[in-house]
Symmetry: C2
Subunit: 426 residues, 2 copies
């Protein structure tokens, strides 16, 4: 394939993508396929001779699409939607074409510098304190990080992890941390790290930073704040009260997938993290490996950022282009409107649930997540959850009967992660 | 931006990409910019109102391109080229549009199953023993992994890392491992893991698997074989002698960026790994975390693969589409031709170096890497290296005077990572 064929095929692909997304509602959300469906549909080895692009695209429809869970289908209610957007896709095409591996400043200065500035833009958009930003002096700063599990990280690093019990609203309070710290120290353990969460996955709970932060500072514990879900809401000033306590106490805020799964324009692979100025050298020092084949003249000048020292892998794509395209094409106002609309839809849905006296709301509705349950036993709720998942998954139709028509349901519910029917007390 | 605007802008972007790659030779390889160049070129915060796509694309040329190190410029001789390709870019566009997060089978069956089958295709292409493949019975299998540093992994996991001294050809032999094991055990340490390399970064050396493998087996040491550079060469049967010893001894082969940095069609972010059947459960067990919000009915059926248990992060893109497009559009023959051409170019370049009696070849030339040095002191060679890097980087012109014209140099040298002027003994 030469560049003239790429021009043609690339434009065909753009049309295929636009068609796919325009008509995605007509595709079944969760595929009917059984495990192992794909292997018999294609040869058991790569072809000797090259094939045509047309042959491959025919197989996309025959082989791939029947096995795709369509995350962007408006009837997809599992997890949080990944929320791609057209500007992000365009930026990703460009990132692929540039094809740089931005592990050091020299490996692609634009890749490094755009990332630093985009993280500053976002930091300002969500109202982070000044000392978390890189600014023109290069003292603070953020990074796009791979998403990973805190528990898994603990497991790999050999650090013993302990869960802090939460209160009736699923949030961690100071007293629970105090008890845990006392127990650990009585057992000869040394507490070193606390991961607090703003907007937990299951219930969108907010840990009490005003209590947890000072305790961490007093005990010299690294406080990391995971705002993967709630982070993007802080683009709207009216939600920033939810991160109260970030400024005086945290070493690091937030590990925020900040144009977040429920909201538009990035994918789960893009998680952002800011590190506080005074701790930056500690963190980079912990990861620093500098084999001779990666060294270059300016690296110790103090003027540059080599993001390879901020992360575990070496390679990194030019992902900040996606942030840049998205921030600019929507503007802050566009992103705020989007978030406000979704929060308001969640409250509207909550009202529907409250009008049906078979159900109850079982966690505070703060942003875009509504946790509800049947009044009755956990077993009954488990049965409902099973039925919802299976009915929904198999047919692509909604199952929540109190919402009248398919059309309306689509309009009202597309943004609610309503399958999170949290079973209170389980 | 709606889908009709995306159709237009997407096609504009395809043309921009094709133009960029057609004319890449005219761009300066390494940019002239100084650290911090980008920040003054753009606003210090995201815009309130959305902007037009045209405005952003103008800024791509004004802001981004002047700071890009053009990895695909034929005059780029640093590291290994990332070697993108048109089919891979098309597949990546599709992956972005599908936008699934394939952490479990249910999250996108096609994403999981295509990856399993593509790793089998590649395993067959490079002649891996049968028991490394998943086959239709699902016993073995491979995975696309993020590239990471072995040393950094050791640092994080708290395992003490030790380098095994290499011989005069930069390869590790059994005697060196034997000495290291004896020393460690005498010091009360327990050896658990050996990372052997096929095609080291600096000199393309091949560790002696025939000696190292049986020793690891005898000591119950996990042997991981990193074939990130050499792995793709095994598509050509004539190079498979280089992985002799893989079959009887390794627990795991290879961590292969198998359409590798020097060769086409994947990027450094795509590293592949096979795990041997009998060890698969150990490895998955080590990483397994199963929060309630990720569980689904079929996950314990034994029929499915949940790749989230094979890796540290949760999220993963549909990257196997890139492998599928590339394998099919080039065919095995096309990929073999490409590799053979590059190996032959390396040998031709080696002959040029040998004809110039100021230089000597300082490591065996086996695949596409030629290590050469000035006859003389290490200091002299360091000065040459510095001059090469700076002259080359600043001007985009080659500096190796024994190759006549720019045109010829372009033709002959574009694939040689010739700046790796390894300083013997340093």
């Amino acid at each position: 394939m030469d560049s003239s064929e790429f021009r043609k095929r690339g434009k065909d692909m753009v049309d295929y993508i636009a068609d796919y997304l325009e008509q995605i509602e007509s595709r079944q959300v969760f595929p009917d396929v059984e495990p192992g469906y794909l292997r018999p549909l294609i040869p058991d080895a790569a072809p000797e001779e090259g094939e045509t692009f047309q042959a491959i695209m025919q197989d996309v429809e025959r082989v791939i699409m029947p096995g795709v869970t369509h995350w962007h289908n408006p009837y997809f209610f599992a997890y949080f939607p990944t929320a791609n957007s057209f500007p992000a896709m365009l930026a990703d095409m460009l990132s692929g074409a540039v094809g740089c591996i931005g592990f050091s400043w020299a490996a692609s200065p634009a890749c490094t510098e755009l990332e630093t500035v985009m993280l500053d833009w976002l930091g300002k958009m969500i109202g982070l304190p000044e000392h978390f930003l890189a600014g023109s002096k290069g003292e603070g700063g953020g990074v796009i990080q791979a998403h990973s599990s805190v528990e898994r990280a603990g497991l790999i690093s050999g650090v013993k992890m302990k869960k802090i019990p939460s209160d009736e609203n699923y949030a961690a309070q100071g007293q629970a941390l105090k008890t845990a710290l006392e127990e650990d120290k009585a057992n000869g353990l040394i507490p070193v790290f606390l991961c607090a969460t703003l907007g937990t996955t299951a219930s969108c709970a907010f840990d009490n930073l005003m209590e947890l932060g000072p305790m961490c500072n007093a005990e010299n514990i690294w406080l990391h704040i995971d705002a993967a879900y709630a982070g993007s809401a802080f683009i709207c000033p009216e939600f920033r009260y939810l991160m109260k306590g970030v400024e005086p106490s945290a070493d690091q805020v937030p590990s925020s997938d900040s144009l977040s799964p429920e909201w538009p324009d990035e994918d789960l692979i893009c998680v952002l993290m800011w590190k506080q100025v005074k701790k930056r050298s500690d963190l980079i020092g912990a990861f620093k490996m500098d084999p001779v084949y990666l060294q270059y003249d300016q690296q110790e000048s103090g003027l540059i950022t080599d993001y390879r020292h901020w992360q575990i892998p070496l390679g990194r794509r030019f992902r900040s282009l996606k942030l840049w395209f998205v921030f600019r094409m929507y503007g802050i106002k566009g992103l705020q409107e989007h978030i406000r609309k979704h929060v308001s839809l969640a409250h509207e849905f909550m009202d529907y649930v409250k009008q049906d006296n078979r159900f109850e709301i079982c966690a505070p509705v703060i942003l875009g997540l509504v946790c509800f349950r049947l009044k009755g036993s956990n077993e009954l709720n488990k049965a409902l959850l099973h039925k919802i998942n299976n009915t929904h998954c198999r047919t692509g139709c909604g199952t929540f009967k109190c919402i009248e028509s398919k059309k309306q349901r689509n309009e009202k519910l597309s943004t609610f992660a309503w399958a999170f029917a949290i079973l209170k007390g389980v």
